[in-house]
């Protein structure tokens, strides 16, 4: 516990179960937008999603092919490293388990990459086993560009910078390497419950 801040009482939200809010986070009803650069705007027929790297054959889906894959709708709490958390967010997309089904690999890590050059690294086991999706709808509506549309990664058990906006593919890797924010001092793994915001946390 830190030093008591003279005169600070806080404005706790009594309607929120504190067990759902990781340390240092506050709950918002809004949906803030954070990105390092301009929001990409591209036609959907330009879009594809590719799995490549340590695989025998890269696999790729066009937007139409992707929409034809079995989808799931999930309700998740999300936690941004800039301190906001948003509870019970509803996403629709394709599970990474579905995308990786039949892909043989010895890789233990992935690097997700996005339009605009953004990247983020994750252990493979953190995007398999029902833990990650490529989401294209939020609250039943197509995902808006500023929130990562047409499709973003959704890995809700890690800080939200791992849920790469405008995602276009993942590279399977035998060695881990820092992605964009991880290279600027943010934590390599990013577990919000352990408050792993920055390197060394």
């Amino acid at each position: 516990m830190g030093r008591i801040s003279r005169g600070f009482t806080g404005r706790r939200r009594t309607s929120v179960d504190p067990a759902r809010v990781p340390p240092g986070q506050y709950v918002t009803d809004d949906f803030p937008v954070l990105s390092a650069g301009p929001t990409p705007h591209h036609p959907l027929d330009w879009w594809s999603f590719t799995i490549q790297g340590a695989v025998d054959e890269p696999v790729s889906w066009s937007w139409q092919e992707f929409q034809a894959l079995p989808s799931e709708t999930v309700t998740k709490d999300i936690h941004c490293v800039t301190k906001w958390s948003k509870l019970d967010t509803v996403w629709t997309g394709v599970s990474l388990d579905t995308l990786l089904d039949g892909v043989e690999t010895s890789a233990e890590y992935v690097m997700a990459s996005s339009d605009g050059g953004y990247t983020t690294n994750l252990p493979l086991e953190d995007i398999t086993g029902g833990k990650a999706w490529v989401a294209y709808a939020y609250d039943g509506e197509p995902l808006e560009p500023e929130h990562g549309g047409p499709a973003r990664l959704l890995v809700p058990h890690l800080y939200f910078w791992k849920s790469a906006k405008w995602v276009r593919g993942i590279e399977l890797r035998t060695e881990d390497e820092p992605g964009f924010w991880e290279g600027y001092g943010y934590h390599n793994y990013g577990d919000p419950w352990l408050e792993q915001r920055y390197q060394g946390d």
Partner: protein, 249 residues
Amino acid sequence: MARAALPRRLSWQLARVVELVDETSRTQSIVLEPPEWPGHRAGQHVDVRLTAEDGYQAERSYSIASAPEDDHLVLTVERLDDGEVSPYLAGELRPGDELELRGPIGGYFVWEAQLGGPLLLLAGGSGIVPLRAMLRHRAATGSTIAARLLYSSKSLADVIYRNELESLAADDEVDVRFTLTREQPEGWRGYRGRIDEELLRDIAWPPEERPLVYICGPTAFVEVAASVLVQLGHDAGRIKTERFGPTGR
């Protein structure tokens, strides 16, 4: 993109509040003396943590307003009426208090003279704070890189660092332009209204001059400014953004 890993753990420390400066009716600068400050780069931020008597804690991030060359670490905080931390920082805090913080944080939305220019800074509201650190850094290092600032505020009374920015403009150091979106004083000779394509065409260097662009403000301001610049032909890789506040819907 260049990498600049932070080499050390970012430990919490108690910085002494040296002085509080009213910037506008809703914003206050907090002048701080941290016991161990490793230095920062213009554009970076810090995390601030408040602790209540029962152990409850609240954390927020604030941009650093001071240049690396300045004597003190300065944060400028806008008081949000429904906020939890900002009313404390810009209302309750007093000189002599200790404020728990850690940093500096972030390494992408930074400007240093070696990154070159021309430097185009676009600020909406309190988004001026990290851009002001860049302008102070530019002045402190004697850089002659061309710099232009467009600062969008609701009214003249909401302009933060007005005297400082006006004197930079008067010395022909920086091309400073203001736009007032809600209320303009009589005889106002600056721009009126929200940022749009016409205003950006007027302000921005042509894409061929490859300005390095930093945009900071509310989401709607940043979305419009960045999207229009890309449409006008600017390289998206030279446009760095920092957004705050709600989506507005």
